[in-house]
């Protein structure tokens, strides 16, 4: 398994080259070994055939009555014997054997009666016959073998039987030295080895060139991708076009890959360009929304001046928008030296459309409040102004009131807004029973009930938008009125309005945790403190 891992880590070029190399090495070796074995067999066969021919031909090279005349140690004259020997040696040289001889057996002794290359006079005893001689003697069949001769060494030997006209038996043999056969084999082996080695090196060379040709475009492509990444996908970095000479009209995988890379790069460059445009468009939209939020903030009143109304009223408001511009609103201003107008509202939806609608609401509300001084009438006027041609059906919930700072009487009207809370001088929390009516701007001609409420000294009126009660925690649970009321009850009775605003804001923030704020949150607290005015 380690070998597999090692192979996987190699470059593509080596991945191709290594198996190629191994297969070539194996096939060259097998070819050489197989050819060598086959050739050895052919060599031995060829030699055996020649030796057999030499043995069979020998009687024909001698006079027809030669074997008949072989009778005794002196029955062939010495001169004739040597003449035959010379002729036989010439023949043997042509055939390619080492020894050629005829043996005659007399009382279990063997005598050379004719020979070539043995340099034996007529009727010389073969004192230590090789084992194959006895074999022929027994079977009288031609016998081919590699046989160890005690005097002449290891021989490849063919021996046959022969009869003269009287039927007497002779043995004719043709031999070759085994080392001559071995030399022939060695030469053949060298030839085969050279051929195998040559084909092996040719194949290796070819596979090296082929693996280079295959991987070279790949490594150029990989160079390109590295440059592309280092260059931050710049449009200026292109694939070398010589990598895909025929464009897309080719069967070469690397050319197709290179072409696709080129297309990818073109698309990528276009996408990046598009992305930059989108990004800048989004940044522009965000900055516009931010500016809209800043403009919107100018529609809200500044911090309440506590010296107004002789210090009889404390008031503070806080707004936290979910987006840069929001749909909540609050307002307060003095109508005269003793009357304070205040309002809180929530435009349906959020973001830019709500913010624009909110601006219109604030302007209409201020102008109506200054002219009419009756909350129910003010809402009626603002409602009708908004409802005319209000195709988008955007509306606003509004809770408005006018406080007589001398008596603590509040005249109020509610346009579909969450009812406020009253915090007693002792810290007790209670609801304010007001008629809900309809939201403002939805229905032309809607009317609103006029109601009154008496604030006792030390009491606080707490107004809020539904961004508070509908704040969501990480588990998806709503903040709710109960929790808000609990938080309000837990506030110190002697605390001022900043403590009320801060207490609820902090509690909502703690409740939401890391969850994104989903709606605008607005709080407004108003404390009636006529005795505070006397002491200061």
């Amino acid at each position: 398994m380690r070998g597999v891992g090692w192979y996987r880590r190699q470059t593509v070029r080596w991945k191709i080259f290594i198996p190629f190399f191994a297969i070539t090495l194996l096939s060259s070796t097998l070819f050489t070994v197989y050819g060598f074995i086959q050739n050895n067999r052919a060599i031995v066969n060829e030699i055996d055939k020649r030796l057999l021919i030499a043995a069979l031909t020998m009687p024909q090279l001698l006079p027809a009555d030669y074997f008949d005349r072989v009778q005794a140690p002196d029955s062939i004259p010495e001169e004739e014997h040597w003449a035959h020997t010379r002729r036989l040696e010439l023949f043997l040289r042509n055939v390619g054997g080492t020894y050629l001889y005829a043996l005659h057996n007399v009382s279990n002794r063997y005598y050379f009666v004719a020979s070539a290359a043995l340099d034996t006079p007529y009727w010389t005893e073969y004192e230590k016959p090789a084992p194959n001689i006895y074999e022929v003697q027994k079977t009288w069949q031609p016998h081919i073998s590699t046989t160890p001769d005690p005097d002449y060494g290891l021989l490849r030997s063919v021996v046959i039987g022969y009869k003269d006209s009287a039927g007497r038996r002779f043995i004719i043999g043709a031999d070759i030295h085994a080392y001559e056969v071995a030399a022939l084999k060695r030469r053949a082996f060298l030839n085969f080895f050279m051929m195998g080695a040559a084909s092996f090196f040719l194949a290796v060379l070819f596979s090296y060139v082929a693996s280079t040709a295959i991987t070279q475009p790949l490594s150029r492509l990989s160079n390109f991708t590295r440059r592309l990444v280092e260059g931050g996908f710049s449009a200026a970095i292109r694939v070398d076009p010589t990598l895909f000479p025929d464009g897309n009209q080719t069967g070469s995988e690397t050319a197709i890959l290179a072409y696709d890379f080129d297309q990818m790069q073109t698309n990528l460059a276009a996408h990046i360009e598009q992305l930059k445009l989108t990004q800048s468009a989004r940044e522009r939209a965000e900055s516009e929304l931010r500016i809209a939020g800043q403009i919107q903030a100018t529609f809200l009143p500044g911090a309440f001046d506590p010296s107004l109304f002789g210090g009889r009223v404390q008031m503070q408001a806080a707004m936290k928008t979910a987006k840069q511009a929001g749909g909540d609103l609050y307002d307060y201003f003095a109508l005269d030296e003793s009357h304070l107008f205040f309002a809180i509202g929530d435009v349906s939806g959020k973001g830019m459309p709500s913010a624009m609608f909110m601006s219109a609401v604030v302007v209409l509300l201020r102008s109506a409040a200054k002219q009419l001084r009756d909350p129910a009438e003010i809402l009626r006027r603002v409602n009708d102004d908004l409802a005319i041609r209000n195709e988008s059906c955007t509306f606003v919930t509004l809770f408005i009131g006018i406080l007589d700072t001398l008596t603590g009487e509040v005249v109020l009207a509610n346009g579909g807004h969450n009812p406020p809370r009253r915090l007693g001088a002792d810290g007790a929390v209670s609801g304010v029973p007001v008629k809900t009516n309809i939201v403002v701007g939805a229905v032309d001609g809607a009317t609103f009930a006029r109601e009154t409420l008496l604030l006792r000294p030390g009491e606080t009126l707490f107004l809020y938008t539904d961004g508070v009660t509908e704040a969501i925690d990480e588990g998806g649970k709503l903040y709710g009125e109960e929790r808000m009321d609990r938080r309000l009850s837990a506030l110190p009775a002697k605390g001022g309005v900043p403590e009320v605003i801060q207490g609820v804001s902090d509690d909502v923030a703690a409740f939401s945790g890391s969850r994104d704020q989903s709606d605008d949150i607005t709080l407004l607290a108003l404390r009636y403190e006529p005795r505070g005015a006397k002491t200061s």
Binding site: D346, V347, S348, G349, K350, S392, C393, T394, F395, T397, G415, G416, H417, N418, P419, T436, N437, I438, V439, A442, V443, A446, D466, E470, S518, D519
Partner: protein, 111 residues
């Protein structure tokens, strides 16, 4: 927001589920308007599965009511969950929209 619409003659019965907020409301508004354009004269909104409604949701209901009224028809809501009914009451929408306990009662209002 899960919305399914079933047609019965000239009445489109729109069953909505989920949160009818700034995300869900535009979808309900678009589907409802499409039904009116396709010829429905009456809209019956079954809000049994709506667990929450925001001011954006109320606005969409108002738009649909106005649109179907302009086409010479009407709209009714039915099967409001307590949470949705509370918002309807608080915003005064219970006075300008037709609310019914169930589908058959809503059908009666539309006739």
């Amino acid at each position: 927001m899960v919305i399914s619409i079933e047609k019965q003659g000239e009445t489109a019965i729109v069953a909505a589920g989920g949160r009818l907020d700034a995300v869900g409301a535009p979808e309900l508004e678009a589907r409802g308007k499409a039904s009116i354009q396709e010829g429905s004269k009456r809209l019956l909104l079954d809000l049994a599965k709506v667990e929450y409604i925001s001011s954006a949701g109320l606005r969409s209901l108002l738009v649909l009511a106005k649109t179907v009224k302009a086409a010479g028809g009407g709209m009714a809501l039915c099967s409001l969950t307590p949470a949705v009914r509370e918002v309807m009451t608080m915003s005064g929408f219970d006075n300008i929209l037709s609310l019914a306990a169930d589908r058959s009662a809503a059908m009666g209002l539309l006739k």
